[in-house]
């Protein structure tokens, strides 16, 4: 009989995430994938600056805390030193798509054989709700109190779309964990992103369209609904790049 239990690769601690924040679900999925692939002992995680800064406390694998935005560069250093190990970064939108854009783009275009878990909640949560590079046009945040005016603050970055133009990228998929069906798909994507690395296929990124109940000023259920109603249109779910299927098409 299958017993529902916490993945072994997740630590027996309470996380620091806000109630209702999808970070917990995404952590669990990553933990399940690490368990099922049997890679905890040879995995090194890279924690970002942002809400997931203390991810090193929530997993049982080795972890390095990186400067803001630099997780892919730190991951590169680890992977080039330990090519037989599994290296993943876990990053938010400010970290990955603002201060760390160069590190993201260049680790991707190098085809760095790492796995990037990107959690997009369209806001800087840790610092109290400022505009993120992925905040939606019109979105009210602490630093766009009248709504994000694209004439002043520009447009959001669509990370999967952008990275899918790079030849070095093996795999880019955008997922959600807002319901069981989507969470199952998210797990498939994250597992594939790890498996790609194990198979030496190169850079894989899974973007989770997430939510930030506290920073958005919404309850957990309302936040999920806001994510569905608003973020999903700007950030459609799906596979943006998969060299496996491209290669098949080219054959």
């Amino acid at each position: 009989m299958a017993v529902f239990k916490k993945p072994a690769s997740l630590a027996e601690v309470t996380t620091s995430y806000c109630p209702g924040c999808p970070h917990g679900i995404i952590h669990r999925i990553v933990g399940e994938c690490i368990d099922e692939l049997g890679i905890e002992g040879k995995t090194i995680g890279i924690a970002p600056v942002g809400c997931a800064v203390m991810a090193y406390n929530f997993f049982n694998c080795d972890f390095i805390q990186a400067p803001h935005g630099r997780a892919p560069a730190v991951a590169t250093g680890v992977k080039r030193s330990l090519p037989d190990h599994v290296v993943f970064s876990y990053q938010g939108d400010g970290d990955l798509a603002a201060i760390g854009t160069a590190e993201t783009v260049h680790s991707a275009t190098r085809g760095e054989n790492i796995t990037v878990i990107f959690v997009n909640n369209a806001i800087y949560g840790m610092t109290g709700g400022q505009m993120a590079p992925t905040s939606l046009p019109g979105q009210i945040t602490q630093t766009t109190p009248y709504g994000r005016d694209v004439k002043i603050a520009g447009y959001p970055i669509k990370v999967c779309e952008m990275l899918s133009t790079l030849d070095g990228v093996q795999y880019a998929e955008r997922v959600s964990v807002d319901c069981v069906k989507n969470a199952i798909q998210a797990k498939k994507a994250i597992k594939k992103a790890f498996q790609n690395q194990i198979d030496g296929k190169g850079f894989s990124i899974v973007e989770g369209v997430s939510g930030g109940p506290t920073s958005w000023g919404l309850g957990p259920v309302a936040a999920l609904q806001w994510s569905r109603d608003n973020m999903r249109a700007y950030y459609p779910l799906g596979v943006y790049k998969d060299r496996d299927t491209e290669d098949k098409t080219n054959d």
Binding site: G41, I44, V53, F63, I64, G77
Partner: protein
């Protein structure tokens, strides 16, 4: 003993790192450290090492950070404007107790400055190599041979004390060619001591390792920093290095490091022929500063002269070291102008006049 070979300073730094067991180099192009990275790009692939050209100095230092955290001997090299960009990573590495080697082949500043030799990153390296309370080990070679010798020592010291180390060279040393003797037996990475704290996969054999510089509880952070400063105090007591040249009877002691010290020696030889007793203390470690040697020299010397290729940075450390017990003067040029022996002798003669 190995044969003498003629090498450019920058290339010697690279080969010395390889001989010290370094197989991971992450760089970004900048003048005048160019030959170092070029040498690495040519050599590393042949010996199973990694040469990676990063997208920026910021990325390069963070790749070093990742490699260092994974437990390998890693390095980067740059020149002054690039070093500014590396300070974030250096601070994080100091805060996470990570050893690594950073080479700074200095050029003139501030800003884009120039590309000629300079020593104007002295304060940056010794006083504020990043945000927060921290030190890094700083070594100042004055010849190509010493570059070779100090690279190995810097790596070993960084590992011993678990902190970043910097070789503070300059464009003159980096670009000049001299005969050098390389270590007879190069170290293999497998010969280096294992790092039990490294994030290299626990393989189910230990609790997971965390490499981190974040401590949100003030007391915890203070405790960690204070413990690090106890280590720094031990380094200040045990690791001072300097060369003394004709200091025994010196009335005037020149303090100069790196390329400047070579010019100072020429100046001393000229001054001695004129009957002026001048000597040199050449700091080899800039942090820790060779305070003991300076204190000793202050007992008999009449005055000190700090000669630097900047606007006067080390001169303050000289004053502090001798507790201002004797006059301390400064002479230097900046912007890539190299002081001449004649200028230094003229300055010493002026000091002699004033003391009389």
């Amino acid at each position: 003993m190995s044969d003498k070979v003629l090498m450019k300073g920058n290339e010697a730094l690279a080969q010395a790192a390889i001989c010290a067991g370094c197989r991971h180099f992450f760089g970004y192009p900048i003048t005048p450290q160019t030959e170092l990275a070029a040498y690495m790009s040519k050599t590393m692939p042949k010996i199973g090492g990694t040469y990676l050209q990063a997208e920026s100095e910021i990325a390069a230092i963070n790749m070093v950070q990742g490699a260092a955290a994974a437990g390998v001997r890693a390095m980067t090299s740059s020149s002054s404007p690039g070093i500014s960009l590396k300070l974030e990573g250096i601070s994080y590495m100091a805060g996470a107790d990570l050893p690594a080697l950073i080479i700074n082949v200095q050029r003139g500043g501030p800003g884009l400055g120039g590309i000629q030799p300079s020593q104007s990153d002295y304060d940056l390296a010794t006083k504020a190599p990043g945000h927060g309370d921290l030190h890094i080990l700083v070594f100042a070679p004055s010849s190509v041979q010493e570059m070779v010798d100090l690279v190995s020592h810097a790596f070993d010291s960084a590992d011993k004390y678990r902190m970043p180390a910097m070789i503070l060279a300059d464009g003159l040393l980096g670009q000049m060619m001299e005969p050098v003797v390389l270590p007879e037996k190069a170290k293999e990475p497998s010969e280096l001591p294992k790092k039990e704290w490294a994030a290299c996969g626990h393989e189910g054999e230990r609790k997971h390792n965390i490499v981190n510089s974040l401590y949100l509880q003030p007391q915890e952070l203070e405790d960690v920093v204070k413990a690090r400063y106890e280590r720094y105090a031990k380094i200040e007591a045990d690791e001072q290095m300097c060369e003394k040249y004709m200091t025994e009877d010196a009335d005037f002691v020149i303090v100069a490091f790196g390329a400047c010290s070579r010019i100072a020696k020429s100046a001393i030889n000229i001054a001695r022929k004129k009957g002026i007793k001048v000597g040199l203390i050449r700091p080899i470690t800039l942090w820790p500063f060779p305070v003991d040697a300076l204190k000793e020299a202050a007992k008999n010397a009449k005055a000190f002269l700090s000669v630097e290729m900047n606007m006067g940075q080390m001169v303050n450390d000289v004053k502090l070291a001798i507790e201002c017990k004797k006059p301390v003067e400064f002479f230097g040029h900046t912007g890539g102008i190299i002081p001449t022996p004649a200028e230094i002798v003229a300055k010493i003669e002026k000091m002699q006049e004033e003391i009389k």
